[in-house]
């Protein structure tokens, strides 16, 4: 498989703080790659550096062989990267339909993708006229994921989709993400190791702003010691 995304030794600062101290990873096209690590390891900062919300001071980020670091977020998004941030980032005052419509890059995108979206998340169809802020936490997360499906994104960056959700909702999200992997490539940040293990083909572990370990997810799932060392989960 060819790499859709390559991150090479990036260093990112937030204010004076050196958060990423040399993160490297690659995401093969058509795969789900999990980015794992404890709180504060730099997972979200890595995603924000890739999408352009933070500018790395060193290193390279390449999408399909094309350097994208340093470009504005809207420019990177237009290249086909969809970002689902943590904390269910819906537009609270816009209706479900408007939340989806606003993500169109070409007229009619939503109509073309509506079957897939409402098949994955039938609740959104029921509440299509409801403001995003009035949805439950799980529905907001679904809307947040659905929004990046409207446009023809080649790569999805998904940050902590299970955070704060009831187990039954997490199962729905897992199912949706599994079906999504047939259509697109995913870089998934997830603290819930069980969820990541169910979904991902490959993994990278970050620790103190550095990528320290990578490999096949199936191997990691069998290596309890490594999981306990870096993720604190067995």
């Amino acid at each position: 498989m060819t790499d859709l995304l390559r991150v090479e030794n990036i260093h990112t600062f937030i204010g004076q703080f050196h958060i990423l101290e040399g993160v490297s990873l690659s995401v093969p096209a058509g795969s789900i790659t999990a980015l794992l690590g404890r709180n504060g390891a730099g997972k979200t900062t890595t995603l924000r550096s890739i999408i352009g919300l933070l500018s790395p001071r060193a290193g390279r980020i390449m999408l399909d062989g094309r350097e994208i670091q340093g470009r504005p977020a809207y420019d990177i998004a237009a290249l086909g990267i969809g970002y689902v941030p943590e904390h269910r980032a819906v537009f609270r005052d816009l209706t479900v339909e408007e939340n989806l419509k606003i993500a169109e890059r070409r007229k009619g995108d939503l109509d073309r993708r509506s079957d897939l979206i409402f098949d994955l998340f039938p609740d959104l169809k029921r509440f299509i006229r409801l403001p995003g802020g009035q949805l439950s936490g799980g529905q907001q997360q679904m809307l947040s994921i659905a929004r990046v499906l409207v446009a023809d994104n080649r790569l999805l960056l998904i940050d902590e989709p299970s955070e704060g959700l009831a187990p039954v909702i997490v199962e729905n999200i897992i199912e949706a993400l599994r079906r999504l992997s047939d259509h697109t490539t995913v870089l998934l940040v997830e603290q819930n190791f069980r969820m990541a293990a169910q979904l991902a083909d490959r993994y990278y572990i970050l620790d103190d702003g550095q990528s320290v370990q990578s490999g096949q997810m199936a191997e990691l799932a069998r290596d309890g010691a490594l999981v306990a060392k870096y993720l604190g989960a067995g």
């Binding site: 919300l53 809207y74 998004a77 537009f91 005052d93 606003i102 993500a103």
Partner: protein, 352 residues
């Protein structure tokens, strides 16, 4: 056969309010027994005409603050520049009104592009400070003696020759209807804008600019669009204000006029469009009545009233009304659901 219930259309309030405002001068004449072009009817036509002009000014600010989340402390510069340009072109250049209108819009586009390009690089309170600095610059220019022959410096520009057919003194009723039509037209335009896809992006920027960028929007362009449109509308309200007062003075460019826009928007309801129009009416009427009762100390009383409004109507008059309406609707919907569930289970007739 079941008789169909007479139902008002959902959006009946707007047309009804418009009908009331159209009939208002004649109703006042009937009530007071005075001719429609004299006495109390004429006075109240003037009062409402000022409200309509201020309503446009407030709507222009709501587009900026309420829909795009841009806090500007320099909005008066557009209003004042529109008024001054109207006065200068009518009085010194002798241009016809339609040309003045086009010139005011063109100048407002240039002015807002300049201000927007330089100020939108920063956000929040920094942006507010940059816009304040620009407004102060125009304020100082208006008072400068170097341009006194054009602007009247500190005294302002007086005796602006409004076209005879819309002179606010001699043709008050016509001026009333022109300003009403102006207000309605601008309302419809702004509503169209905020309901358009570009308007939704503006709302998205207000909620979270980074998020809007992550979807792929160059938020700077949309913010610049909002500043420009808002500037043009404020300048047009300045034009109408100059025609009403027949003068333009440095006060129109002062921070106080920007604060008025902020007050009207907050009192009516930020991001509601109708709210700031109502806020303009409240500010105008309260100013008139409090001045009549308390004389020059009226701003003190107004301050207390404003604090009470913010305390008891935290989302403004229209905003709080909408919030409570939504809350009541969801409560009733929940009760109806429960009743329906109870009835399906057998209700009072259920036998165990």
């Amino acid at each position: 056969m079941k008789t169909p219930r007479l139902r008002l259309p959902r959006n009946w309030l707007g047309p009804a309010a418009l009908l009331v405002l159209v009939l208002f001068p004649f109703a006042m004449a009937l009530i007071t027994g005075q001719p429609v072009t004299e006495g109390a009817p004429k006075f109240w036509q003037g009062m409402l005409a000022q409200m309509f002009i201020l309503a446009v000014y407030a709507m222009s600010y709501d587009l900026l603050l309420g829909y795009t989340g841009i806090l500007s402390f320099g909005h008066a510069m557009f209003f004042g520049t529109g008024a001054y340009l109207t006065g200068i072109l009518l009085k010194h250049a002798g241009w016809p009104l339609w040309q003045v209108g086009l010139a005011v819009m063109a100048a407002a586009v240039l002015q807002s592009l300049l201000v927007g390009l330089l100020s939108l690089r920063v956000r929040g309170v920094y942006l507010a400070m940059v816009t304040l600095a620009f407004a102060q610059m125009f304020f100082i220019l208006s008072e400068a003696t170097d341009f006194a022959q054009w602007t009247g410096a500190e005294d302002g520009l007086h005796s602006i020759p409004a076209p005879r057919w819309m002179n606010p003194t001699d043709e008050r009723l016509r001026f009333y209807f022109i300003s009403l039509a102006f207000c309605v037209a601008i309302y419809l335009i702004v509503r169209r804008v905020v309901e358009s896809p570009a308007g939704k992006v503006m709302i998205a920027i207000r909620e979270n600019e980074n998020r809007a960028q992550m979807i792929g929007y160059n938020t700077f362009v949309y913010k610049l669009l909002a500043v420009t449109l808002s500037g043009v509308l404020a300048a047009l309200s300045g034009l109408m204000n100059a025609l009403w007062n027949l003068n333009a003075n440095p006060t129109m460019l002062s921070v106080g006029v920007t604060i008025n826009a902020l007050l009207m928007t907050i009192i009516g309801g930020v991001g509601t469009l109708v709210g700031p129009m109502l806020g303009a009416a409240i500010l105008q009427l309260l100013g008139y009545w409090l001045n009549a009762f308390f004389g020059p100390r009226w701003p003190l009383i107004f301050g207390i009233v404003f604090v009470l409004i913010v305390l008891f109507l935290p989302y403004g008059v229209v905003g709080t009304w909408q919030m409570r309406g939504a809350s009541w609707r969801s409560t009733w919907a929940e009760r109806r659901r429960r009743l329906a569930g109870w009835a399906n289970e057998g209700g009072l007739g259920r036998k165990n």
